[in-house]
Symmetry: C2
Subunit: 194 residues, 2 copies
């Protein structure tokens, strides 16, 4: 059986972006098998009765500063998005909708737009630009994300994460062990390599 | 002016214990000037409108596991306390009351009892044992912590931390920059050495 590192993410999560960039630079030879697991972070927080740091004045202020420190230390291009937080529902549904061979590109474009280039990816015009860049029809996208199956799929994936005791993003799961937060990527990789 | 690293702590906080142990092993030559800043973590959370992870089922489960992982990785003797959480009010007031030359011992004994030896330090009998070990009169202790001045002092220190935008423990402050969590000790030390 191939070993996998499950990587639970939402584009809204700056720490997911940072972890993804760390992982990318550690995985230049593609030897780490990463299994991306989209969830709706807001939905997960609701299920778990958790108030996101974005909704606490001091935590929010710290989070911005903290992300900038981490990005600096790890040489990651990062810019705090002036439109944070946004509702990531359409984007996360979109990840499920997009063809498998375009998912990686979509993933990169969404994360870079939001956490590197200060783009408001809550705005349909900007989503359309991303879709154009990756070569996915925008009408198909905006129709597709209204499809009940896609809606239910994201709900279902979020609920499944919750049922595994996951409560935040990024979360890594290796050998059924849960590692929460970009600070625990090293620990997850230790488990992966063990 | 001597450089200082402010270390905000509460004995209730397992991450403060872990950070303290990391710092201790990094500071064997006593070249880092640490300024311990007692606060009442529960009070700080109340001021900041924060629900502590101890009061969220998933966060609590993760925190226990996470602390054990960190302790393992850093060779820190650690045992999750079966009586977590307790009310640390008396112990934190006690830190203010104890003579300066005994504070370090008291600090060590409280942290080790709670996070290494699984002692219920919410129990006065166990506090009495600690006091006996460090050589502080227990009647003076239990009378002293009822003193209005001591009560107000802890409140005041907690409020001052809150006014500096501190919202958790451990928090390190160096050059007026705030670093939250044992994961940021390295960053705080970078700033200290800069």
């Amino acid at each position: 059986m191939t070993k996998l590192i499950d990587f639970y993410f939402d584009f809204i999560s700056p720490y997911s972006y940072l972890a993804y960039n760390k992982l990318k630079s550690l995985n230049k030879d593609n030897k780490i098998n990463i299994n991306y697991k989209p969830i709706l972070l807001g939905g997960l927080h609701n299920l778990g009765g958790i108030t996101a740091p974005a909704f606490n004045e001091r935590k929010m202020k710290n989070m911005k500063n903290d992300c900038e420190l981490i990005a600096n230390k790890n040489n990651i291009m990062f810019k705090w998005n002036t439109k944070f937080p946004i509702n990531s529902l359409h984007l996360m549904r979109g990840y499920l909708l997009i063809n498998d061979d375009l998912k990686e590109k979509y993933f990169d474009f969404c994360f870079d737009a939001y956490w590197k280039d200060n783009v408001d990816i809550g705005d349909e015009k900007n989503i359309a630009i991303i879709l154009n860049n990756i070569g996915f029809n925008k009408e198909n996208f905006f129709d597709g994300i209204k499809d009940l199956k896609i809606k239910e799929k994201l709900k279902d994936l979020t609920k499944k994460a919750f049922d595994k005791d996951i409560f935040g993003a990024p979360t890594f799961v290796v050998n059924n062990k849960i590692f929460w937060g970009q600070d625990r990527l090293d620990y997850a990789l230790d488990e992966y390599k063990a």
